[in-house]
């Protein structure tokens, strides 16, 4: 069991607000680590802090044993971390093709090969190849956002609430896709949709009020309804 990414007591301020007050967790290579917690608990901020978009004021982030909390965002990303933000971060006036092009590192044949492999995983995107991403449906945008993070064969993907705002049937499709990616790559998944979290996750951490308060294997959470009630407000 190799620890791919680890955080230690992350603390982050946004303006004068102390948003993260001690987030500690590990993501193990090849697994899906799920971050759970109520609205406003600090899940998104945790991902942004790892990437350096909201830099921490205290605490550490290790990626493959290397400290990275001081790196600028682009360097962190280039270590092999892909990010799918909560709002998907689609560029509305770029075509699907341009999304693939801008995301792919390297030159020449390699680029085409990666695009091919990625499209095999996201076949629906092919038919919108020349369309502006702004006109895609919510589900298609989400797929595009995931594809864009996946295309560089990043070792770690951080995906923030991929089910947010999608119809149940679309959520299922997203879930299938993520399931196929599982194993190939390590995933940190933020999810409010408990069923999805339970289905995909290997390990969970619960964040409450900016702190990690509980963790374990996913099946433990499945067994402890009282934990879910207490921290997530669900049964």
């Amino acid at each position: 069991m190799e620890v791919l990414l680890k955080t230690e007591n992350l603390e982050t301020f946004i303006g004068q607000y102390h948003i993260l007050q001690g987030v500690t967790f590990e993501a193990i290579r090849g697994e899906v680590t799920v971050l759970l917690g109520r609205n406003g608990a600090g899940k998104t901020t945790t991902l942004r802090t790892i990437l350096g978009l909201s830099p921490p004021s205290r605490g550490k982030v290790f990626f493959k044993q290397k400290e990275i909390q001081e790196l600028p965002t682009y360097k962190t990303a280039n270590l092999g971390i892909g990010y799918v933000p909560e709002d998907q971060g689609i560029f509305p006036y770029l075509t699907v093709e341009e999304h693939f092009k801008i995301a792919t590192k390297g030159k020449g044949d390699k680029v085409n090969e990666r695009i091919e492999t990625t499209l095999a995983l996201f076949p629906d995107l092919k038919q919108f190849w020349r369309k502006q991403a702004g006109v895609l449906s919510g589900g298609q945008k989400q797929m595009l956002a995931i594809a864009r993070a996946y295309i560089n064969y990043n070792e770690l993907l951080m995906i923030d609430e991929p089910s947010k705002g999608l119809a149940p049937i679309v959520v299922e499709k997203v879930m299938e896709t993520l399931e196929r990616m599982k194993g190939e790559t390590t995933i940190i998944l933020v999810e409010q949709n408990y069923l999805m979290a339970e289905y995909l996750g290997d390990r969970f951490y619960i964040i409450d009020d900016g702190k990690t308060v509980l963790s374990g294997e996913m099946k433990e959470l499945k067994e402890h309804e009282e934990w879910r009630k207490k921290y997530l407000g669900i049964s």
Partner: protein, 286 residues
């Protein structure tokens, strides 16, 4: 008929000058979220340095290149020394760029004196063509041609190159571009330099058109450019061309028919756009 053609050409020429100034402003704003109140300073510096160079060498084309070079250098210095220390802080940015504008125009007076200086077009661009019974002034056509060349060059770069792709993506979502591993700060610098260079080009082109240059010319023209940036949509390159032509034409026709109202009408347009369509009339055209 003759009158209309002339007003049209006037308007297009003015529009092109405003466009060259607004193009950098809009890209810098879209990409970096910085409204650069010193942009008019680059414009005035382009005019002074270019006219000076033309006076020394007698080479107008070289003078254009020289002015653009001065713009590039000023842009690089400004980005590094003035803008970078206050990234992300709007109020400081506004204050500091305006202060820098002051310094830029005072420096012009230190170097070239406080009085207006004359500026003339070279021989080969002076005079006019007679087509039918319509007189067309060469220099104005020249401005339009240069403006179009600049537009299509940048348009090509934006649409067909990787850097252009990054710039367009950055205008829409800067954080996401960074999160994809792209060092956007480097692109900021580049865009800032190109924007300053275009402003300098615009200033030099204006000089023989208006016949005189003065240190405050930057602020006067920058106000028109601000109006254009708002109407065209902040961050929209094509939008700024369309809006600049609109403002240029309305200015030229209005100045002929009801001169008192011309700036007022443009301002009114800007106020209406800001209130009812703050994303600009042409937003989304890239």
């Amino acid at each position: 008929m003759e009158q209309i053609v002339n007003l049209l050409i006037n308007g297009l020429a003015t529009g092109m000058l405003i466009f060259l100034l607004a193009a950098g402003l809009t890209l810098i704003f879209g990409l970096m979220d910085v409204l650069n109140f010193a942009h008019g300073g680059f414009f005035a510096w382009g005019a002074y340095s270019g006219i000076w160079f033309y006076g020394v060498t007698g080479q107008y084309v070289l003078a254009i290149l020289f002015a653009m070079f001065v713009g590039l250098v000023l842009g690089a210095l400004t980005e590094k020394l003035i803008i970078k220390p206050v990234y992300g802080n709007h109020i400081q940015q506004i204050l500091i760029t305006l202060g820098f504008m002051l310094v830029l125009s005072e420096l012009l007076k230190v170097i070239w004196g406080p009085n207006q200086l004359p500026a003339h077009a070279p021989e080969w661009l002076s005079g006019s063509w007679l087509i039918g019974d319509i007189i067309i002034i060469k220099y104005r056509v020249f401005i339009i041609v240069v403006g179009l060349i600049a537009f299509f060059t940048i348009h090509f770069i934006l649409k067909k190159t990787r850097i252009g792709l990054i710039v367009r993506a950055g205008v829409m979502n800067k954080e996401m571009v960074e999160a994809m591993g792209i060092h956007i700060q480097k692109i900021f610098m580049l865009v800032f330099m190109v924007g300053a260079s275009l402003a300098a080009l615009s200033g030099l082109l204006l000089a023989p058109y208006s016949g005189v240059i003065y240190a405050e010319m930057g602020m006067d023209f920058a106000i028109l450019a601000f109006i254009v940036v708002v109407i065209g949509g902040m961050g929209s390159f094509t939008g700024s061309l369309l809006a600049a032509i609109l403002v240029g034409l309305s200015g030229s026709f209005m100045a002929y028919y009801v001169s008192e109202l011309s700036i007022a009408v443009n301002m009114l347009l800007m106020i209406l756009v800001l209130i009812f369509r703050p994303q600009g009339l042409f937003y989304g055209k890239g």
